[in-house]
Amino acid sequence: MDLLVHYLSLATKAIFIENILLAYFLGMCSFLAISKNVEASMGIGKAVIFVNGITVPLNWVIKTYLLDDGALSWTGIESLASVDLSFLTFICFIATIAALVQFVEMFIDKFSPSLYNSLGIFLPLITVNCSILGASVFMDERGYTLGESAVFGVSAGVGFYLAIVCMAAIRFKLRYSNIPDGLKGLGITMILTGLLSMAYLSFSGIQL
């Protein structure tokens, strides 16, 4: 029961209080480019939840059993026990993400064409989405356990989904507004994101 409460509070924190997009600015590029369209935003949001949920725990396994100081001691080979490969962290994380995205794309193309059609074009984009690598780096930085990293991965994705769909809905309304020329597009989106992020600040302090 305690564990469940712990996971729930971690999830709330990742979704609302420390929203990966609005508090840490990760994934801004795709956020700005795709939030023009509500349908597409939902597509990329789902893809981020999906990929984050897989890559964060997977990267945890790689980091703990291959890269950390003394992580290779499970092999039983003495000379490997003192090896510290943690300087390879970034390369391994991004390689895992790139390979996994490619793999997942082929997999769902074969087994679930309807899912493929809804995620399809967004999956390759995800490789270079900072929020994916960011979630893995945060997981490493904050020393989560395997269970925590799975929860964190999914909820960081959910946070991204909420923020991007919210923004897409606002931008849809914005089409009928009269905005000064220089502020059109990127400028007004940035300021609106600021306001959205201010609204999210009101979640801070919530404890489960």
Partner: protein, 197 residues
């Protein structure tokens, strides 16, 4: 003449952040203090110039089907190098930024310039393009950081400028970054007369 244009263009007219909409994440995250912004610019300049040069050197040998993976490998090697360097020589400054240094790997400027420019152009042009874009990025970064540090802490480079009662805590939080950058984008686009559809 062309060299000069390759270099000057990304500084103002075709600025990577305000015009090309690349690399926004780090422009917002590491701009609480001017000092951090300068360190970030230094790290990005190194990575961008080196990756542009390496990709340009290898451009005839990279098959287009696996080019993303090859570019990512080059970039993440460079980022690892700069991260280790900062940890060794500037530990105090780089500690709070280490996540964002790692995220240079997925910074769209680096990938974007490598894929869009260095894959088609020779080494010298790619070098200039990388340098120009990194500087253009740096200008915006330092500008945002200047306003955030001035209005948030009342300091510049930790030297007190404004009295304490003027400090605005909102500038140090995420919304401040978004709004300042939004206003800078507005200013830049009004000056260059660029209107987005």
């Amino acid at each position: 003449m062309k060299n000069k244009k390759t270099f000057i263009d990304p500084l103002v007219d075709n600025n990577p952040i305000t015009r090309q909409v690349l690399g926004i994440c780090s422009a917002l995250a590491v701009t609480v203090k001017v000092e951090q912004a300068l360190v970030m610019t230094f790290a990005l300049t190194f990575v961008l110039v080196m990756s542009n040069v390496s990709v340009s050197l290898l451009r005839k040998y990279i098959p287009s089907s696996i080019r993303i993976i090859v570019q990512l490998t080059i970039i993440s090697t460079l980022v690892t190098l700069i991260d280790q360097f900062l940890k060794a020589y500037m530990y105090d400054i780089s500690k709070p930024m280490s996540v964002f240094i790692a995220l240079i790997i997925t910074n769209c400027i680096v990938m974007g310039r490598a894929d869009a420019y260095a894959m088609q152009n020779n080494v010298k042009d790619s070098f200039l393009d990388g340098f120009g874009n990194a500087l253009g990025y740096g200008i915006i970064l330092v500008l945002v950081a200047f306003f955030r540090e001035l209005l948030g802490f009342g300091t510049i480079f930790d030297i007190k400028i404004l009295p304490d009662f003027l400090n605005n805590g909102l500038m140090l939080l995420a919304p401040g970054a978004f709004i300042i950058l939004g206003l800078i984008i507005w200013a830049q686009r009004s000056i260059t007369n660029f209107v987005e559809e």
